[in-house]
Amino acid sequence: MDIYLLEAIINGVLLGGVLALLALGLNLIFGVIDVVWIAYADIVMCGMYAIYFLDVQYGVPLPLAFLIAIVGMAGFGVLVHLLIIAPVLNSPPLNQLLATGGLLFFLQSFATLLFGTDFRNIGVRLPVLEIASMYVSFARLIAFGIALIGAVALYLFLKRSYIGTAIRAIAQDREIVGLMGIDQRRIYFVVSAIGGALAGLAACLLALQYDVHPFIGNTFGPVIFMICVLGGLGNMIGGFVASFIISQIIAIGGYYWSTELSYVFAFTLFIVMMFIRPRGLFAS
């Protein structure tokens, strides 16, 4: 097998890890609260700015800056729920989309106003590893490893804990969980915090690889939505698998042709799949 193709495939797998993490967060929120956070990738952008300013401007050690970003974005997730989602919970889906879509424009414009359109970087240059004469970015390798650990931790939490079981239950029967002594509002806050924390974690992993600017959310936001819909909105395992399918299309397409064209392929596949399996690849 062509060694450069293998390298592209490996890089695709590594890219899939971070996408999978974000898809998990978005699917968790949709599955439980039944609202799509259109601005999800822009919360990642906020997290990246938080890391940049803490580390570069205020000299906070990077690991601590990461931790603050994760906790901060968890809090931000709760605020988003409290201020934007909760008031429109019983509104038609279109109004909910407009509300979270409004947040997207608000965050992007606000970031432009505060920070300008400069590309900013935390200036950490991790080495590129040479493994069996293939080049693999160390930052991507770390990002993949941590994203996987995050996904497993989320899985164990949902599977083993009382709150996690309640989160899965609420997605199956919203009305009846009250009869189990579960306060629906409390679960919504917990889920929004987890969703925010996952965006914060993704911000840490992406800050190692990319410059932050106000519109960075646009570069991967649409891909994450495509992944979630392809895997079946709310289906966490479907989204996880779809992340790696899409990242492979992007990586292999990028190897044979160009990255731009590979996105065209990915979205073409997505549109075709919407006709063949409109409820997602893994709909039962």
Partner: protein
């Protein structure tokens, strides 16, 4: 134990309950019978706090419970086995039971309570890791009752536990009511299966078009000519 006085409730502009008053004493089993659409399910949902009541008072052990939302009612000791069972279909049997023990007071003694429930429903122990939605109707009903018992309730509300079940299974469900009562629980049970429910309850109320039309001991109602003609087909 549980007392409702002149309770009214409804959905939107539709009023489903009119001045309903009823009492259930500690350790008693009480039935609410009546035709489809009489408001029996609404009554249960008002008691467990899913639907707010509009007028009247509701007390449990002398304390007002009229304003409490559903999740607070569970902490007060009321468990509700809803109409159509409403298990979490994609969770396993044991996960459904774990959700039943969600409140902190029930989590503490989860393992012993689980053993107790499995003792009451040996079938559920065999199926503990099976996905709940794939069980038979009777097994699901047992699981729904077991789930409600996991919260260590004082009062158990059962909404049409016999609906959609084969006659033999219906008999098993009613036998269970006997055994649950033997454990000292207070039971309020809504049923259309009048003949059989009157065998397991001490007293019953007849609910028609949202209002209590008749009340009496099980023996009195079994002998009542109106009940016999309209609800028992005798």
């Amino acid at each position: 134990m549980l007392s409702l006085a002149a309770v009214s409730a409804g959905y939107g502009s539709f009023q489903a309950l009119f001045d309903v008053s009823l009492d259930v004493s500690r350790g008693e089993a009480v039935g609410v019978i009546g035709p489809n659409g009489a408001g029996k399910t609404t009554l249960m949902r008002v008691i467990s706090g899913i639907i707010p009541m509009r007028q009247g008072t509701m007390t449990l052990e002398g304390r007002s419970i009229g304003e409490l939302p559903a999740h607070r009612m569970v902490e007060r000791g009321v468990a509700h086995v809803p109409e159509n069972r409403r298990l979490f279909p994609r969770l396993s049997v044991e996960e459904n039971l774990r959700i039943g023990a969600f409140i902190p007071a029930a989590r503490a003694g989860f393992q012993e309570r689980l053993a107790w429930v499995y003792d009451l429903f040996p079938r559920l122990k065999d199926r503990r890791s099976q996905v709940a939605g794939t069980m038979s109707g009777g097994e699901q009903q047992m699981c729904a009752i077991a789930r409600a018992l996991m919260s260590r309730p004082k009062v158990l509300l059962m909404d049409e536990p016999s609906a959609g079940l084969a006659p033999l299974v219906v008999q098993q469900v009613f036998d269970l009511v006997h055994r649950i009562r033997a454990e000292g629980l207070t039971v309020l049970i809504v049923e259309q299966n009048v003949q059989q429910v009157l065998e397991v309850v001490d007293r019953a109320y007849l609910l028609e078009v949202g209002a209590i039309k008749l009340a009496g001991t099980a023996a009195e109602l079994k002998g009542n000519s109106f009940i016999r003609e309209a609800y028992m087909g005798l």
